[in-house]
Symmetry: C2
């Protein structure tokens, strides 16, 4: 039995669901993977930070504010302190930092700095944050290599549905030439709803009420979330070195509604499509509404469904489809990355 | 650089395409995977068997009949002899037997015996043959475990599109509850063609001319191929212990044509669907024509496309879609398994 210590940087819905999931899956992890996971540190945005097995357990179980028991250092200072206190665990390759702070679409900070700090301190890093991969994948991949630690981010795109792991683990001799997909659930839900006559604002409000849409709605509807995912996919799968600002970007709005209805009536469908490919050696990445034939795989995606079609050299096109999304799926992405770390010997 | 020696048991289209692919990918294998692959033995069905690096190279390059240069022992005797001659390579875990003999739907032989012999002789085994996985997965998995060698079979279902590797490598903490899919290209092509008014016999003849249909057409159209894949998937993904004979099985025929046209006119589609799930602890596996809603992912599969939808506990439904199939893809499945073997340290 091998024990891994986790420091959670960010303690929102995803991290809390991960803690619950680790608890639910405890037996399976021990039995099937010979792995035990302890949470030794938590940095929250508003309720302070806590280090130490018992404190973390108490906090994560009760959900209570840390209140006076905790200091309120900056998250970065807390992370540095945790790395120091867990230094011997880190040397044994048993320390994992889980980064789930809020996406910053301008620069991918402070998440990128957290990850660099964690790797330099000897921790593996797993994240569901697309910012770092979208803004600084190459730098972070190098930092991980230098530190001889893993940097994994399956949850950055399509939640727990394996994309990055799929390519890394199961397509070892395949070259990815390009991709296209529907990778933002909120806009696909709104487009589907508008086809059926629902108003843009109502559909968006429903997504926000369900906690699917980003708090800042423009991240979804102006295509920023999809652009960040496109940059992340292009950086990792196509060897690009771009940021979300390099992605040609369009979104949806209330004026898209009548067009969606019109397309549907003609047996076609409007979708917010993310795509990237190399054209004469130059990488072109784009997010925008496309008018698709009815028999296009992407045209068949209802509601919150996502899909990614990979263009490859040896296998031509492969598609992977996420038929439903949830917090559990994003938390699962983190868990699957934790197990990837744990499986190395 | 680590060198792996291959013994090819079966030397039909797939094995020959693998040999060419290994040659095409030689640089990439060395550069990116630090791996070199040599073919040290080939057992053909009609042209004898040959052991030894130079002979195998000469044979595979020229495609010539082995003629008098070779003995004509039974394939099993040749395999045993090869294992003995390569015993020291096997002890170093560098010997791989590639099994691609013809599918036997009655018992999965002699492929299963070849695999057992190879594992017992210290070789890893990779195969694109669905027979052994469909008939004897549990026994072979145990044999591999006892021998401490790999037994891999990605090509058995959906060619090179990762199914087994996907689940094994990227869904470590997920339980598969069931699946449904379209896994036979010939019948899907015929159904699509008949919807457009083509005659059953003509569509089948086209698939045979293109080398997609099995030589024995009944394997495809009576659902045997799909049943073998269903058994293979159920055995591996659902922990079942069934054979193709345990799969409730239906196929397609010329009478399916009018029904396919009728369904299409009503916005629906007929598909030969393979499915399995546990119902009150009992495994139920079935292949048969189903009348699907137009918005079903499987309904959208044109021509030779395949897809598999996995029902899981943590990720709900995930689908993987093969948009086109070819000999190269099946050969790639073998290559990807070879690299999985090579990646173990």
């Amino acid at each position: 039995l091998r024990t891994f210590d986790l420091v959670l940087i960010g303690y929102g819905n995803v991290a809390r669901r991960l803690v619950a999931l680790l608890d639910e899956q405890r037996d399976r992890l021990t039995r099937e993977h010979d792995v035990r996971v302890r949470i030794v540190g938590i940095a929250t945005r508003r309720h302070g930070c806590v280090y130490g097995p018992s404190a973390a357990t108490r906090f994560s179980n009760s959900g209570q504010r840390l209140g006076t028991q905790t200091q309120r250092p900056s998250t970065l200072a807390f992370l540095r302190d945790s790395l120091e206190r867990s230094a011997s665990t880190a040397r044994q390759r048993r320390l994992i930092v889980v980064e789930t702070t809020t996406l910053d679409i301008e620069r991918g900070q402070p998440a990128t700095r957290h990850i660099e700090t964690a790797l330099a301190g000897g921790a593996h890093v797993v994240t569901a944050n697309k910012g770092p991969v979208a803004f600084a994948y190459r730098r972070l991949a190098r930092a991980a290599q230098r530190a001889d630690r893993r940097f994994l981010f399956e949850g950055a795109v399509m939640d727990g549905v394996p994309i990055f792991n799929l390519v890394r683990e199961t397509l070892p001799a395949v070259q990815i030439l390009g991709f296209r997909g529907v990778v933002n659930s909120t806009t696909n839900f709104i487009l589907t709803a508008m086809e059926q006559g629902q108003r843009f604002d109502d559909a968006l409000a429903e997504m926000q009420a369900r906690g699917i849409a980003e708090a800042d709605a423009s991240l979804d509807i102006d295509g920023w979330d999809a652009a960040a995912k496109t940059a992340a996919l292009a950086n990792v799968l196509l060897g690009a070195n771009i940021t979300p600002h390099d992605v040609i970007r369009g979104g949806i709005g209330s004026r898209t509604g009548p067009l969606a209805i019109q397309a549907r009536a003609a047996g076609r469908r409007l979708k917010l499509v993310a795509r990237a490919e190399r054209k004469r050696g130059r990488l072109v990445a784009r997010v925008g509404v496309e008018d698709l034939r009815g028999d296009d795989l992407l045209a068949g995606l209802e509601g919150q469904q996502n899909a990614l079609i990979l263009q490859t050299d040896l296998l031509e096109e492969i598609a992977i489809v996420q038929r439903s999304g949830s917090l559990t799926q994003t938390a699962y992405a983190l868990l699957s990355d934790l197990l990837t770390v744990a499986r190395e010997r």
